[in-house]
């Protein structure tokens, strides 16, 4: 054992019977104090499973975990926490109804007189923790009201509050903007300077280069490389991760495949298909007007807390704005019409939500039912009894996005990236009722959790939909994703449009970055 070795695991294996997947196959890993370790791999490579096993959230079939040389009980969160392993999962496990402070204290609430839960101590401790790690989060805010970035901050603070000597973060930046990601890496850097070890689970090679000094590459549950980051080029790494390595172009800036369409000129053709008129996103902000025309991709970027989530609520029609209105195909969208449109009658209205698990999936239903949830009316009685037609339709939808999963498997058994493919496979269909020819899509963080090859595929699909006449509103906290695909780009700052213009590639990227931070100061 190395004298500085903090965490090690040996021969970790995990087989999922539901999906007949060997997620981890005899994995060995050593992490030293102060180490910045990245675990990378494609969707379904077994990264998150390994993280969950280390954190005691999943029971391995075999293998041992040691912290400072002492063996710890497998499959026990309590044992892992006691040994100093903190985990920030890909899918938030916070209780939405409780405040940020209550979530941090949950299960180990500070006591007054050794008996009663002390609310004051709970909040003070949370506030101190947030301050120490430079997180500007209101400890009294209910978690459900926090942005994705803030929730991630609470998860990290929660893990650290439990004495995390080893902090495992599973795709922590999947729905964070570049600036938020930078802040996060700054915080993680400070933690490693204090001697804590960070394990970053990601498939973003740029992040690996930016942050990690050691990396472990997983492919189909096996370790295929365990070395220092400098030893390999990004191209080599992506080849190691994938059986079918993506092209040089697809590797791009780590995970952002620049497309040929990045700087497509904005063509103000045809009629607006999605319009938001005079809606107020953030209290005190000016009413916002926004429209997406047929055949156009409008990308809107924002930092957390600037109204992007609210914009998604309104544009998807799930929340009725207090003021203003949403028009789809130039008609107001009420609940009954939204339901009809979602079932493709007559305009196709696709929606990929940022909160995949709550809005985008029915976790305890089958893959088939999830894939076909928008097409239930297409099938007749005997199709429901026999199921072959539905199977074929589901297989077709799955193949469109490279989704490999048993149709009868529960969605809950799928990995994060595979779940995202499922949502995209269901939503990114162009055809509405025959002859309608019109489609509208609201896509919020559509690339979250996807590996390089899948991202390239999805960007191609989105571009194809727009070329076929679909109006697409892309809501993304990541500017690069918008620049990669949008015809027109806009930035939200404090609930108002701080920049809007045609996508001109690199220069638009800079304008957006400056606008979302409020540096532009030139509201349109």
């Amino acid at each position: 054992m190395s004298p500085v070795e903090l965490l090690s695991c040996e021969g970790i294996s995990k087989y999922f019977r539901d999906t007949t997947t060997l997620a981890n196959d005899l994995i060995d890993l050593q992490v030293a104090a102060g180490e910045r370790r990245a675990i990378i791999g494609e969707n379904g490579a077994g990264k998150s499973t390994l993280g969950r096993i280390l954190a005691g959230l999943a029971m391995p079939d075999s293998g041992k975990i040691r912290v400072r040389g002492a063996s710890i009980e497998s499959g026990s969160v309590r044992a892992a926490e006691a040994a100093g392993i903190g985990f920030v999962p890909q899918v938030s496990l916070l209780a939405g109804e409780l405040t940020a402070a209550e979530n941090i204290a949950l299960g180990r609430e500070p006591r007054a007189m050794g008996l009663f839960v002390s609310r004051r101590k709970t909040y003070v401790e949370a506030a101190l923790l947030f301050e120490r790690f430079g997180l500007s989060i209101d400890p009294e805010a209910p978690v459900s009201s926090l942005s994705a970035a803030e929730r991630r901050g609470v998860e990290i603070a929660r893990a650290l509050a439990r004495g995390g000597e080893v902090l495992i973060l599973d795709e922590p930046t999947s729905i964070l903007s570049e600036i938020e990601s930078e802040r996060l890496f700054g915080l993680l850097g400070r933690l490693t300077e204090e001697g804590k070890a960070i394990i970053l689970i990601t498939h973003r090679l740029a992040e690996v280069r930016r942050f990690a000094d050691k990396l472990t590459v997983l492919r189909q549950g096996r370790v295929v490389a365990d070395e220092s980051v400098e030893q390999r080029s990004e191209e080599e790494l992506s080849r190691l991760m994938a059986r079918d390595a993506p092209s040089r172009e697809a590797v791009g800036k780590g995970c952002r495949p620049p497309t040929e369409n990045a700087a497509r000129p904005c063509e103000p053709r045809l009629e607006p298909m999605l319009e938001l008129r005079d809606v107020v996103l953030v209290r005190g902000a000016k009413p916002l007007r926004l429209s997406v025309r047929r055949g156009e991709v409008l990308g809107v970027a924002a930092l957390a807390g600037n109204g992007l989530g609210r914009l998604e609520d309104y544009a998807s029609g799930l929340v009725k704005p207090r003021s203003g209105e949403l028009l789809i195909a130039q008609s107001p969208l009420d609940e009954a019409r939204r339901r009809r449109l979602r079932q493709g009658l007559p305009t196709r209205f696709g929606y990929v939500p940022s909160d995949r698990e709550a809005r985008g999936l029915c976790l305890h239903a089958s893959v088939r039912d999830n894939l076909l949830a928008l097409r239930l009316r297409e099938f007749r009685g005997r199709d429901y009894l026999g199921g072959r037609l539905r199977d074929n339709a589901a297989l077709e939808a799955a193949s469109g996005v490279g989704l490999v999963a048993g149709l009868r498997s529960s969605v809950a058994s799928l990995s994060g990236g595979t779940r995202q493919r499922l949502v995209l496979g269901r939503e990114l269909r162009a055809d509405g009722e025959p002859g309608s020819g019109a489609s509208v899509f609201v896509l919020a963080e559509p690339l979250q959790g996807l590996d390089l090859a899948a991202q390239a595929l999805v960007l191609e699909l989105i571009r194809g939909l727009a070329d076929d006449g679909a109006a697409i509103l892309l809501l993304d906290s990541n500017v690069e994703e918008i620049v990669a695909i949008a015809d027109r780009a806009a930035a939200l700052y404090r609930g108002e449009i701080a920049y809007e213009g045609p996508n001109e590639g690199e220069s638009t990227s800079k304008r957006l970055m400056s606008a979302i931070t409020g540096a532009a100061g030139s509201a349109v």
Binding site: A23, L363, R419, G449
Partner: protein
């Protein structure tokens, strides 16, 4: 799912073992009690047919509970919905008698009236949820309890048969009773009707679009709304649930008792919930589960007659079964939650 089914089977087997231990401990004739409990319900065709007949009402209530559970609505008002079903069936049957109607049309009218009454009571809960966000679990329970009080008051008060020496309405005529299938046993048409209803529920849940929508709605309301599934699917499930409980109530009136009496439902609504729980809200599982509960009931009754076991033994045994089944269901929940949160790379 397989794990849950196994857990339920283990729980059922354990509850039988507990029942045997209880019979051994509580009876002065332990072997006689065991025989009476486990074998007597099948020892004669009369006993077996009685068991089937008593399972008919229970199965209807259980099917109703299954439908509500599948839609994510915890309908705790089955008992009250069955109670209003007994009243409605009795009123229509008596009205038909007065009008000179009898036979299949009159019996059908009584059953339909019971379904409407039960469905209407459940509809109140669905509407309260839709309009005011009131929780179905609470409102269905409260409405159900109020309905039981109302039905008991009506049956034992203004609608009481003054010529009879019990708290009940007048007896319904022979021609309005469900035909007996194997006289002199009480087995009536109620049992095949309940089987047909079970088949209908199984078909609905497994072989129709509405069944799939109902399942998706029950598992994730937000998702269902996002993909455009109407929340009315849930409301209709509640109505169907209440209607089935009402039909279960009507079988009590139109069967051997042939009149509506005070406290007639005797817990079939609650037992229906337990059966639905055992069945995992699956219509196919509801049939054996209902038969199992009826067996417990019938066995305990036989044991109390033949081997001096307390008449309350049935309640104790059903309680044990329910406890174990609930424990088995809850035991599998953390794993389900863990699965839900799993996000493998």
């Amino acid at each position: 799912m397989k794990g849950r089914a196994r857990a339920r089977i283990v729980a059922l087997a354990s509850s039988l073992a507990f029942a045997a231990i209880y019979a051994l401990v509580a009876s002065s004739d332990p072997m006689g009690a065991l025989y009476a409990f486990f074998v007597s319900p099948f020892a004669s065709s009369y006993a077996f047919y009685s068991l089937l007949e008593s399972s008919a009402s229970l199965l209807c209530c259980a099917l109703g509970a299954c439908l509500a559970f599948r839609a994510g609505a915890f309908n705790l008002g089955g008992e009250g919905q069955a109670a209003v079903g007994t009243l409605a069936a009795a009123l229509v049957a008596l009205a038909c008698t007065g009008g000179g109607l009898s036979g299949a049309p009159a019996i059908s009218a009584a059953i339909v009236a019971a379904a409407i009454a039960g469905g209407a009571l459940a509809l109140f809960s669905a509407v309260a949820e839709e309009k005011a966000g009131a929780q179905v679990m609470l409102t269905s329970f409260l409405f159900g309890q109020a309905a039981i009080i109302g039905v008991n008051w009506a049956v034992g008060g203004p609608l009481k048969d003054p010529s009879a020496n019990l708290l009940g309405m007048a007896a319904i005529s022979e021609g309005l009773r469900l035909p007996l299938l194997a006289p002199p046993s009480p087995l009536s048409l109620a049992f095949p009707i309940s089987l047909a209803l079970a088949a209908a529920v199984i078909f609905f849940t497994r072989g129709t679009r509405a069944g799939v929508e109902q399942r998706l709605l029950g598992k994730n309301r937000l998702f269902a709304r996002a993909v455009g599934i109407s929340p009315q699917t849930g409301a209709w499930s509640m109505v169907a649930s209440g209607a089935l409980a009402g039909i279960g109530g009507s079988f009590l009136v139109l069967g051997q008792t042939a009149r509506a009496v005070k406290d007639m439902t005797g817990g079939i609504g609650w037992n229906g919930l337990a059966v639905a729980l055992i069945a995992g809200s699956d219509g196919l599982g509801a049939l054996p589960a209902a038969l199992f509960f009826s067996w417990l009931d019938s066995g305990a009754r036989q044991a109390s007659i033949l081997a001096d076991l307390s008449p309350d033994a049935s309640a104790v045994m059903k309680g044990i079964a329910l406890f174990l089944i609930t424990a088995a269901s809850l035991g599998s929940r953390p794993r389900a939650k863990a699965l839900q949160a799993r996000g493998k790379a």
